[in-house]
């Protein structure tokens, strides 16, 4: 049974549906970070350390913390949108065609793959923008991936899997 295409389509749908709300704020925060890092009056010179936090490599100021919390919040929000997508969108289309447990597992891996790809793309984007100003740190880069994958895994195990294993508990969503 192949439900991978369906899962990828959900990722695409969520990305497109929430693009303006989510990613404009993402760009806004990135802009604030760049603005404060470069300090347009040029009083503070650019240093490698001040750029590193843009990639989530170091956390040593309130802004870094906001940036980190925002990224974690974004991961949590997208995880919930993604994992519970079909509950509000004709669940009978998918759950009468495939085993809900295997569907959930495949869906989890699709999300993790997309998350890792996003982190890599984001890293490459920032790396090339600041080409020459920053050295690649594999361990910190991997730490970021581990952090976000752990968040998704925790959400999946604690709140998604128990519902999908026994989907008949879905009643909570219904009011009619």
């Amino acid at each position: 049974m192949n439900s991978l295409g369906y899962s990828f389509q959900i990722v695409k749908q969520i990305f497109k549906g929430g693009f303006y709300k989510i990613f404009l704020f993402f760009l806004f925060l990135l802009g604030v970070n760049i603005f404060t890092t470069y300090n347009i009056s040029n009083i503070v010179p650019i240093t490698i350390d001040s750029i590193r936090f843009l990639l989530g490599l170091t956390y040593h100021s309130l802004l870094d913390l906001i940036w980190l919390m925002y990224q974690i919040g974004l991961t949590i929000y997208l995880s919930y949108l993604y994992f519970f997508y079909e509950i509000d969108n004709s669940p009978e289309f998918i759950f009468l065609r495939t085993d809900s447990y295997h569907f959930a597992i495949k869906k989890y891996f699709v999300f993790v793959i997309c998350l890792v790809l996003f982190r890599i793309l984001f890293y490459l984007f920032a790396h090339f923008v600041f080409l020459g100003n920053i050295a690649f740190s594999l361990s910190v880069f991997l730490w970021n991936i581990v952090l976000h994958v752990s968040i998704v895994t925790t959400i999946f195990i604690c709140s998604v899997l128990p519902i999908l294993i026994n989907l008949k508990l879905l009643n909570k969503n219904h009011s009619k």
């Binding site: 049974m1 192949n2 439900s3 295409g5 369906y6 389509q9 695409k12 749908q13 497109k16 509000d88 969108n89 004709s90 669940p91 009978e92 289309f93 998918i94 759950f95 009468l96 065609r97 495939t98 085993d99 809900s100 447990y101 294993i165 026994n166 989907l167 008949k168 508990l169 879905l170 009643n171 219904h174 009011s175 009619k176």
Partner: protein, 208 residues
């Protein structure tokens, strides 16, 4: 083979939606659920499909209980309430995506189902551009395309024009002759009387 609904009750937050419902659905028959909105028709369909667990009571199919298991009645397809497809995909692409999950059918079967519901000329239109009736027809095509043994259609003719309604009814009567179990709901009695072998009336949580 038959589906048996035995003493099914359903409550939401202490409010009773269904009270002691007993029904049997046999092969080769069309069943109609009739009643006002909010009388529990869709809830019972969800319980039969296995999407909801009843507060008490049992669902049997072919003698096997499905009420508490995390599995669903086999070879069943349903359209319950508003059909939600991916808005950026065309009608055909949406059906292909769903058909790929089991890989039992090819493009020809999908096209046949679109033909049956009179949607073949709009198959390449994006779902977001579909009218209410077209969305409903795509939902019906999703139900019939894989030739299931049990068809569950909740208010299938909402917004669908008369010509297509007649064509779909003819199709359902043909499927009934093949021995399938078909369950339809409607708040319009006329939608059901022309094709249903038995009509259940829903009122205040009770079914007659």
């Amino acid at each position: 083979m038959k589906i048996e609904v035995k003493n099914v009750c359903k409550e939401f937050k202490g409010i009773s939606i269904l009270t002691d419902v007993n029904m049997t659905f046999e092969d080769g028959k069309i069943y109609g659920f009739q009643g006002r909105n909010g009388t529990g028709k869709s809830i019972l369909l969800k319980i039969i499909c296995g999407l909801y667990k009843p507060t008490s009571g049992h669902i049997f199919y072919d003698g096997k209980e499905y009420t508490k298991r995390s599995e669903y009645v086999p070879n069943i397809r349903a359209l319950i309430e508003k059909p939600c497809f991916f808005p950026d995909l065309t009608g055909l692409e949406n059906l292909k995506l769903l058909a790929k999950i089991q890989n039992k059918i090819g493009e020809q079967e999908i096209l046949n189902s679109l033909e049956t519901v009179n949607l073949i000329t709009e198959k390449d239109k994006k779902f977001s551009k579909y009218s209410l009736g077209m969305k409903q027809k795509l939902g019906i095509a999703q139900v019939i395309m894989e030739d299931p043994h049990i068809l569950i259609l909740d208010e299938p003719f909402n917004g669908v024009e008369k010509e297509s309604v007649e064509k779909i009814k003819k199709y359902l009567l043909k499927e009934k002759e093949k021995g399938k179990i078909i369950i339809l709901t409607s708040h319009m009695e006329s939608d059901l009387t022309s094709i249903a072998d038995k009509i259940y009336n829903f009122d205040g949580g009770k079914v007659e």
